[in-house]
C-alpha cells in the first residue's frame, strides 16, 4: 500500500512539472466544446472551424470533444449537467435544441428553460430533393403528386431524430400526408446513394449534404426552405417562390452552456463567437459549406434563445403526432 501511495505521488509530481498553473481571469484552462455527433459530420465541422478562431480570441484552446449518441442528446446532456463555469460548452443543432423535447420523451435537459444559450454559429438551409426521373417537375406538381399518390411515393430519411427526419416530418405534416412510406437509413450517405440510384423518390436534407449531387445533376432539387436563394445553388427556388411559403426551416448549429454560467463568462464566449463569425477566413469556409451567416441579433443569447423557442413551437405539434 505504501508503495502504491508512493507511486501515485511520483506520477502526480511527474504530471505537475509539465504545467505551471497561471492564476488569471476566465479562461485559465482549455475549454471543452462538446459536439454531440461523430467527428467529420456537419456539426463537427462547423464546431472545429468556429472553435479554432474562438481559441485565438479567448487565449485558451477550445478542445472539441465528440460525444455521440442518441441523436445528439447524450452529448448535450453531459454538457448541460456540467459545472456551469464556462469550461464545458456544447455545439448543438436544430435537433438537439428544438426538436429533442418532442422526439425524446425521457429527455434529461430543457433547452428552453434549463440552458444558457450563447449564440447561433450558422444556419444550414434545407432542400427538398428527389430522384432525377421522379415525375413531378416542380414543387407545385410535387405537392399535388404526393397528396394524390400517398401509397406510391417513398420518402427516405436518416433515422428518427435526424435532421432529415425532423424536417421531412414537418413537411409531411404541413402537406397533410403524415403516413407516407418512410424508408429509414443509417445516415444521410446511404439514403443519398439510394436516391441517386432511383430506389426511393425524395428526401429532405441539409444543403451541405446534397448540393454537390444537385450540381452534378444526379438528383434534382424542388426548393430550398429558406427566405432567400443560396449562393451555392442559385438556380433552386425558395419554397416561397415555388408555392409552399409555410415550409420554412433551417438546420442551424449554435453554442450553449449550462444554466447558471456567470454573466461575464457568457459575455466572453458571445464576444469570441461574434469575432469568429466576423473573421474573413471563417466566413469564407462557412459560406463554402452553404451556411447562412447568422444576423447580429441571432448571435446574442437572447436572440438564439428566441430562435430555439420559435422552432420548438413550430416542430413540436407535428413531431409529437408523427407516426413512429
Amino acid at each position: 500500500m505504501k508503495k502504491l501511495v508512493l507511486s501515485l505521488a511520483t506520477t502526480v509530481a511527474l504530471a505537475l512539472t509539465g504545467s505551471a498553473q497561471a492564476q488569471s481571469k476566465y479562461p485559465e484552462k482549455p475549454i471543452t466544446m462538446i459536439v454531440p455527433f461523430a467527428a467529420g459530420g456537419p456539426t463537427d465541422i462547423i464546431a472545429r472551424i468556429v472553435g479554432e478562431n474562438m481559441s485565438k480570441t479567448l487565449g485558451q484552446q477550445v478542445v472539441i470533444e465528440n460525444v455521440a449518441g442518441a441523436g445528439g442528446t447524450t452529448g448535450i446532456t453531459r454538457a448541460l449537467t456540467a459545472t456551469p463555469d464556462g469550461y464545458t460548452i456544447a455545439m448543438g443543432h436544430l435537433g438537439t435544441f428544438s426538436a429533442a423535447p418532442a422526439t425524446y420523451p425521457g429527455l434529461k435537459y430543457d433547452p428552453i428553460n434549463g440552458m444558457q444559450p450563447i449564440g447561433l454559429a450558422g444556419g444550414t438551409p434545407i432542400l427538398i430533393v428527389a430522384r432525377k426521373n421522379f415525375e413531378p417537375k416542380d414543387l407545385k406538381e410535387f405537392v399535388a403528386y404526393v397528396k394524390t399518390n400517398t401509397d406510391k411515393v417513398n420518402e427516405a430519411h436518416a433515422g428518427v431524430g435526424s435532421v432529415s427526419w425532423t424536417t421531412c416530418t414537418l413537411l409531411k405534416g404541413q402537406l397533410g400526408v403524415p403516413k407516407l412510406n418512410a424508408v429509414a437509413y443509417r445516415g444521410t450517405g446511404p439514403a443519398l446513394n439510394d436516391l441517386v440510384s432511383g430506389q426511393i423518390d425524395f428526401m429532405c436534407d441539409q444543403i451541405v449534404s446534397v448540393a454537390e449531387q444537385v450540381k452534378a445533376d444526379t438528383i434534382k432539387a424542388y426548393a430550398i426552405a429558406s427566405t432567400e436563394r443560396s449562393p451555392a445553388l442559385p438556380n433552386v427556388p425558395t419554397t416561397k417562390e415555388a408555392g409552399l411559403p409555410e415550409y420554412q426551416i433551417e438546420a442551424w448549429n449554435g453554442i450553449a452552456a449550462p444554466k447558471g454560467t456567470p454573466k461575464e463568462v457568457v459575455d466572453r464566449l458571445v464576444d469570441a463567437l461574434d469575432k469568429a463569425l466576423k473573421d474573413e477566413g471563417v466566413k469564407k469556409r462557412l459560406l463554402d459549406l452553404g451556411t447562412v451567416m447568422p444576423s447580429a441579433e441571432e448571435r446574442t443569447p437572447a436572440g438564439f434563445g428566441a430562435l430555439i423557442k420559435r422552432d420548438a413551437d413550430k416542430l413540436s405539434p407535428t413531431l409529437a403526432a408523427a407516426p413512429k
Binding site: 479554432e52 445516415g187 439510394d194 449531387q213
Partner: protein, 500 residues
C-alpha cells in the same frame, strides 16, 4: 489507355512532390504506430489523427490522411496477429490463423506475408481505380436494399465456414451476433429495444466494445489460465520474413483475395467488410487439407489480408466518383475533405483533377511506404512478444481502456467492454468461437435495415429478393455455400457416431 497514363502522370506529378511524399510517409508511420496499439482500431486512429492534418493544404492533408488510413489498417492487422485483438471487423479473420502462426513462432512470417500481400493488393487496386473507377460506379448503383440484404445473407453463410469446431455452435454464435445487433434504438420508429432503459445502450453496442471484450479481454483471461502456452510463444521466435516456400504458398490466395476484396469494396453499403470473410471461406474450401485452417495456415492470412487491403482501397471509388461514403472511415474522409473546403460529389474528378489523381497516385505510394516501414518493423513487433506476459497484459489493458474511452469519450464503454470480456470468457468455456458472432453482429445491423427498406419499397412482397436478378443470384450462391459447408459436416458427425 493513353488517357489513363496521362491521368496517372498528372497524379504522380502531384503526389511525387517532396512535401507530399513526406506526408504520405509520415501518415503511414503515425497510422501504423497508433493503429498497432491494442484497443485502438482504424476508425479511432483516424479520428485521433484527423486534427493534425488541418493545418495542411487540401491535397497534402488528404494524402496524409490516406496514409494514416493504410497505416492504421496494417497496424490493426499487426495487433490481430500478435495479441489476437481485432481493431475492426475485417481484422477478425486475420486473428484466426495469424495469431495461431504467432503462437507457433511464425509471427514474423505472418506479418511479412500480410505486408507483401497487402502491397500486391494495393498495387492492383490502384490500377483498378485509375482504369475503371468511373465505369465501376455503375455497379454500386445497381445495388438497392434488396441486393444488399441478399449480399448480407450470403455473408452470413461464409460465417458458417469460418467455424473451427461444431457447425451447430457456429450457427448459435451467428444468431447470437444477430440478436446482439438488434439492441439499441430502432432506426425507423425510435423505440428503444432491449436496452434495460439504460441510456448508454440506446445506440446499440459499439463494435470496438464487443470485439475488444470477447477477443482482447477474454484472450487475456484465457492466457492467464494457461501459463504454459503463452510462454511457449515467447520461447519460439523463428524466421522474421517469409521464405520462398511461404511466398509460393500464399501467391494464389493473394491474387484471389485481391480480386474478391476489390470487387466487394466498390459496393457503397460497406461491402468491403465481407471481403476477408469471403476470401477465407474460399481458401478453406479449395484447400487440399482444410483442417489446417484455424491452426496457422499461411493462406488464411495471405488471402484475407489482401482482400482487406484491396477493399480498403476500392472503397474510395464510391467516395471519389459518387461523393458517397461507403463506411465509417470514408465518412471521416468526407469530413476531412469538407473541412478543407472540398465537398465530395460526383464532380470532384472533373473539378479537382489534381486532387483526384494525386490521391490515387498517393495510394500506390502509400502502399510502398507501408512496405518500407513495416518490413523493418516486423523485427520490433516480434521482439515485443518477448515482454513477460505479466507485464504485457496490464499494458494491453491500459491501452484498451484509453482506446475504448476515446472512441466516444464515454467511460461507460470501458465498463461494457469488461462485461463483454466476461461474456467472451463464458463463451470460451462453453466451447464457442467468437469470430462468427462478430460477423453476425456486423452484418446484423445492415441486414435488418436493408430487409425493412426492401420490404417497404416492395410493399411487403418477399418476391423482390428473388425477382431482382442480382439479389436472386446472390441468394443462390448463399444456398450453394451453405450446402457445400453442411454436407461434409453431417457425414462427418455420422462417422464419429459410428466409430464410437
Amino acid at each position: 489507355m493513353s488517357e489513363m497514363i496521362a491521368h496517372l502522370q498528372l497524379g504522380f506529378g502531384v503526389a511525387l512532390s517532396l512535401q507530399n511524399i513526406a506526408l504520405a510517409f509520415a501518415g503511414c508511420l503515425v497510422g501504423t504506430l497508433i493503429g498497432v496499439l491494442p484497443g485502438v482500431g482504424p476508425i479511432a486512429t483516424i479520428a485521433m489523427l484527423l486534427p493534425i492534418t488541418f493545418g495542411l493544404d487540401p491535397v497534402g492533408a488528404l494524402i496524409m490522411l490516406a496514409g494514416i488510413y493504410y497505416g492504421a489498417q496494417y497496424g490493426g492487422s499487426t495487433t490481430a496477429i500478435l495479441v489476437n485483438i481485432p481493431g475492426e471487423a475485417t481484422a477478425v479473420v486475420t486473428t484466426l490463423d495469424g495469431h495461431q502462426m504467432a503462437k507457433q513462432g511464425r509471427a514474423g512470417v505472418a506479418l511479412g506475408t500480410a505486408a507483401l500481400g497487402s502491397f500486391f493488393a494495393g498495387c492492383v487496386a490502384t490500377l483498378i481505380i485509375a482504369a475503371l473507377g468511373a465505369p465501376l460506379t455503375k455497379l454500386a448503383l445497381l445495388f438497392g436494399p434488396a441486393e444488399y440484404f441478399s449480399l448480407m445473407v450470403m455473408g452470413l453463410c461464409f460465417a458458417v465456414v469460418l467455424a473451427r469446431g461444431s457447425i451447430l455452435k457456429a450457427f448459435c454464435m451467428i444468431m447470437l451476433g444477430l440478436l446482439l445487433s438488434t439492441i439499441g434504438t430502432d432506426l425507423e420508429t425510435g423505440q428503444e429495444r432491449m436496452t434495460f432503459g439504460f441510456p448508454p445502450l440506446s445506440d446499440g453496442i459499439d463494435f470496438a466494445v464487443l470485439a475488444m471484450g470477447v477477443f482482447g479481454f477474454a484472450e487475456v483471461l484465457r492466457n492467464l489460465e494457461n501459463p504454459e502456452t503463452r510462454d511457449v510463444v515467447r520461447a519460439k521466435i523463428g524466421r522474421l520474413l517469409p521464405d520462398w516456400n511461404d511466398i509460393k504458398q500464399s501467391f494464389l490466395p493473394v491474387v484471389r483475395g485481391t480480386a474478391i476484396g476489390g470487387i466487394l469494396g466498390i459496393l457503397p453499403g460497406n461491402g468491403a467488410v465481407l471481403g476477408p470473410f469471403a476470401s477465407y471461406t474460399i481458401e478453406k474450401k479449395i484447400a487440399k487439407d482444410p483442417s489446417r485452417f484455424g491452426r496457422g495456415a499461411i493462406e488464411g492470412v495471405a488471402g484475407p489480408e489482401s482482400a482487406n487491403n484491396a477493399g480498403a482501397q476500392t472503397a474510395f471509388i464510391p467516395l471519389l466518383t459518387l461523393g458517397i461514403p461507403p463506411n465509417a472511415v470514408m465518412a471521416l474522409m468526407v469530413g476531412a475533405m469538407t473541412i478543407h473546403g472540398i465537398i465530395p460529389g460526383p464532380q470532384v474528378m472533373t473539378k479537382n483533377p489534381e486532387l483526384f489523381w494525386g490521391m490515387i497516385a498517393s495510394m500506390w505510394i502509400g502502399n510502398l511506404m507501408l512496405l518500407i516501414i513495416n518490413l523493418p518493423l516486423v523485427g520490433v513487433w516480434v521482439k515485443l512478444l518477448q515482454v513477460p506476459y505479466r507485464l504485457m497484459f496490464p499494458a494491453i489493458l491500459i491501452f484498451c481502456c484509453i482506446g475504448i474511452y476515446s472512441v466516444n469519450n464515454q467511460p461507460v464503454d470501458v465498463a461494457f467492454t469488461a462485461l463483454f470480456g466476461l461474456f467472451g470468457y463464458i463463451l470460451i468455456k462453453l466451447g464457442f468461437e467468437p469470430a462468427p458472432m462478430l460477423l453476425g453482429f456486423v452484418l446484423g445491423k445492415l441486414m435488418e435495415e436493408k430487409l425493412r427498406q426492401a420490404l417497404i419499397i416492395s410493399r411487403g412482397s418477399f418476391m423482390t429478393f428473388i425477382e431482382r436478378p442480382i439479389s436472386g443470384g446472390l441468394l443462390a450462391v448463399a444456398v450453394i455455400i451453405l450446402v457445400v459447408a453442411l454436407l461434409p459436416s453431417i457425414s462427418q458427425k455420422r462417422d464419429e457416431v459410428f466409430t464410437e
